[in-house]
């Protein structure tokens, strides 16, 4: 085994150790440490991706001395390493872009705690991507929940604390259901590691034993993770939460944390239950319906808002709907669409949040649309980044948003009964998206009188770097999407294979 195979373990342990060390550093050092960590994790993940691609097959790495079904292990596959690369890179860019906002929003003596939390989120996302064990997944989901709550409430206004209470309640309901699902699954299969679960579940499905517990555990696990990632009927915490958190937290939460849960769900579906069992149980139809509802109701909610952050939050709920729509359509084309949309959203939503915060700074900190009038001129780069992100969310060609909608539509056409609802929902939600994003862009570029002049040079530089990176990624992947799609397709073939 080459040395590179050890890197994921080192990344995970380094994130945990960094989080512990950060608590005794001061705010500035902790931020440097955290950013260096994200960068290092991104580089390591790329190396792992290269190695796995060359090997041509996924690799299991023992966490201890015992192989499955006895001991913990992690699995290095294409999708795993690619997504952990994306998560780490987006995390780095978020922290880079929100440098100034973070200094303003965080209380001086507690600044380092923010970076403790981001390091823990980094560790949890890595583990959710790599792990091969459903219970390890549960533990790190909890770390992720608590740490997300930590970065939400760090602002400590009444509203932020209320929002984090609501977030916690929904998350805890989700993890309670998830734990119950895992319990039932353990009761009928006796395994917790995904490869062994895969065999056991397939066997149970063929013999027909324990059909009801198996179905209900699939339901519970799926519903638990769907609640945590904010699928339609449970998205009510989103507007509040993203609306009053510091922009960096909103960006991390919407771009990464909810995506981490969805990625873990996909992992459980593909390497745990197996697509045959999951798509035979009928749960995907529920996801499909709720995905469509989420797309439409999220967009309608976004239209009603007059606060730019709450609008983006509602739009996030709609985007989560797209992802679940893809999962609901079919295990091949649909899931590729869903994965591509995860990438789109991870690249687009953070930059929307960050540039919205810069824009609202030029308007004297107000988040209302009417105060933001003309702020696109006051900070041209933020205006440009916001507009590009918005266009990508609408699905204009040459952006990633277009490609993900295209993939979802193609996947929908392949499925017999779901073709019409998919296309209708995509069309309707595109119209709604266009309505509220175009309204915002027009507002930004209507001449008005912004309260304060341009931001200081340093603020522009740190934000500009990350905004440009995000925009380039968005355009690059939108224009030449085929290598990315090939990577996802190849990775998905790996995903179900037992290494």
């Amino acid at each position: 085994m080459s040395f590179i195979a050890n890197l994921p373990l080192f990344c995970i342990v380094a994130s945990l150790v960094c989080s512990v060390i950060s608590s005794v550093l001061n705010g500035k050092l902790a931020r440097w440490l955290s950013m260096a960590l994200s960068l290092a994790v991104a580089v390591c993940s790329l190396l792992v991706l290269g190695m796995v691609w060359q090997n041509g097959e996924p690799l299991t790495y023992l966490m201890g001395h015992f192989p499955h079904p006895w001991g913990n292990e992690i699995r290095l596959g294409i999708l795993e390493s690619f997504f952990s690369f994306v998560f780490a890179a987006v995390m780095f860019l978020c922290m880079q872009g929100a440098k100034i906002a973070l200094t303003q929003d965080l209380e001086a003596g507690k600044r380092q705690f923010y970076f403790v939390m981001t390091d823990l989120i980094q560790a949890a996302l890595l583990v959710l991507a790599y792990t091969n064990d459903i219970f390890t997944g549960y533990v790190f989901i909890e770390i992720c929940t608590l740490a997300s709550c930590g970065i939400l409430m760090i602002r400590q206004t009444g509203r932020a604390i209320l929002a984090s209470v609501r977030y916690m309640i929904f998350s805890l309901i989700g993890s309670g259901l998830f734990l119950l699902g895992v319990t039932i699954l353990y009761g009928i299969t006796g395994h917790l590691l995904l490869p062994s679960l895969h065999e056991a579940a397939a066997e149970l499905w063929h013999t027909g034993d324990y059909r009801i517990p198996l179905t209900s555990s699939i339901c519970l696990i799926t519903v638990g993770l769907a609640i945590k990632s904010g699928l339609f009927p449970f998205h009510y915490w989103m507007p509040d939460t993203y609306g009053c958190a510091t922009p960096c937290s909103s960006a991390i939460l919407s771009g990464l944390v909810s995506k981490g849960y969805i990625f873990f769900l996909l992992k459980v579906i593909f390497s745990g239950f197996g697509t045959e069992v999951f798509y035979g149980s009928g749960v995907q139809n529920v996801l499909f319906v709720f995905g469509i509802c989420g797309m439409i109701f999220g967009s309608i909610g976004a239209i009603q808002e007059n606060d730019i952050f709450r609008m983006l939050a509602n739009s996030s709920a709609a985007q989560i709907g797209y992802v679940y729509l893809g999962i609901g359509i079919s295990p091949e084309a649909g899931v590729i669409g869903a994965l591509f949309h995860i990438l789109t959203h991870a690249v687009t939503k953070p930059v929307l949040f960050l540039s919205a915060s810069r824009l609202s700074d030029t308007a004297g900190g107000s988040k209302r649309f009417k105060d933001l009038q003309g702020s696109g001129y006051a900070f041209p780069l933020a205006g440009f980044a916001f507009s590009l992100g918005a266009l990508s969310m609408i699905g204009i060609p040459m952006t990633m948003g277009f490609m993900s909608k295209y993939l979802l539509a193609v996947a929908g056409l392949e499925a017999t009964f779901k073709a019409v609802p998919t296309l209708l929902a995509l069309a309707l939600s595109t119209i709604l998206n266009t309505f509220y994003f175009a309204r915002t862009i027009i507002r930004l570029y209507t001449p008005g009188t912004p309260l304060s002049s341009a931001a200081p040079w340093r603020a522009q530089a740190s934000f500009g770097l990350s905004a440009i990176c995000f925009s380039l990624l968005n355009l690059g992947a939108g224009i030449s999407a085929s290598p990315l799609i090939a990577l996802l397709r190849h990775g998905l073939e790996f995903f179900g294979k037992v290494g």
Partner: protein, 126 residues
């Protein structure tokens, strides 16, 4: 059916408690009660997990006199998982309680609907 349920009565109690805790967590408007509901929900799923590892007539998985006969001991894995579950539950409880104290300091009530209304009112005044 009733006979089956009676035979696995520990499991039944566990799921009933889970449902009670779940309903309290989701619907009770008092934050403190919600936290109690959360704890009940967590311990209930722990109870279910433990009872799945129990085997009639066998002792706890602590090796006595070096006898490593499988027929003698219960299943050690659920106990290990439940230990983790308990830790998670106490951590979450502590965070929720800290949030509760802060909310009460700010709004002087524990009723979530009321707090929500107050927060909206406050925002409207700004």
């Amino acid at each position: 059916m009733l006979q089956t349920l009676w035979d696995s009565r520990v499991n039944c109690i566990a799921v009933i408690l889970f449902a009670v805790g779940f309903a309290t967590l989701l619907l009770h408007r008092n934050l403190f009660k919600k936290i109690l509901g959360l704890n009940i929900m967590d311990t209930a799923s722990c109870l279910l997990l433990t009872s799945l590892g129990y085997i009639e007539g066998r002792t706890a998985p602590i090796i006595v006199d070096g006898v490593t006969d499988v027929q003698r001991y219960g299943n050690p894995l659920p106990a290990g998982l439940v230990l983790t579950g308990i830790v998670v539950s106490v951590s979450v409880t502590a965070v929720m309680l800290a949030l509760t104290v802060r909310l009460y300091e700010r709004y002087h009530t524990l009723d979530l609907d009321e707090i929500y209304m107050l927060a909206r009112q406050e925002e409207g005044e700004k």
